[in-house]
Subunit: 102 residues, 2 copies
């Protein structure tokens, strides 16, 4: 079953859009690492929080991606712009619409 992740991160005031740019760039490279979905969201009523929803072939694929040089570079670039407040929820994807079939 595919691995799903929904999380949020909080950017320091004025830094959200810069962090979004880093995430958008990072999302281009993860398909080869086993990522099927990497959706980045923001909200009008909160100018600091960024939401990310991911679907990976497995938790192992997700975890391994964190060690890729480009991922580590993106994390290193974004981290100083974040407050350190994160939320996360892992889940097993049972199906639905918009994902590749197995």
């Amino acid at each position: 079953m595919k691995y799903g992740y929904f999380g949020s991160m909080k950017a320091r005031p004025g830094q959200r859009d810069q962090v979004v740019k880093i995430l958008l760039r990072a999302s281009e490279g993860v398909r080869a690492a086993g990522c099927h979905l990497y959706v980045i969201g923001v909200a009008d009523d909160d100018d600091q929080t960024i939401w990310v929803n991911e679907v990976w072939d497995s938790k192992e694929h997700h975890d391994a991606s964190l060690q890729l040089p480009e991922t580590r570079a993106a994390i290193g670039e974004a981290m100083p712009m974040l407050t350190g407040e994160f939320t996360s929820r892992e889940f097993a994807v049972v199906g639905g619409l918009g994902l590749p079939t197995e």
Copy 2:
């Protein structure tokens, strides 16, 4: 910008998998209503909660879908199996991987 929604619902004990089946069936019909993504998830450490992540053309498309006869039937079928505890987060999709291009 596309409309994103991440929410959870809690099923009564023993009813989770039945609710998942209803959601899977409902997800088949929503593409024509402007839905691009409808991912259903469960977790090993929680046998009652179901997570749903959706991406729609707009909030209006999402809201209108709730009035479709098949959606109303699915809600009517699932509701008695739910505890009434929900969480939800709306967001504007800024991009990422795995979604159709505009």
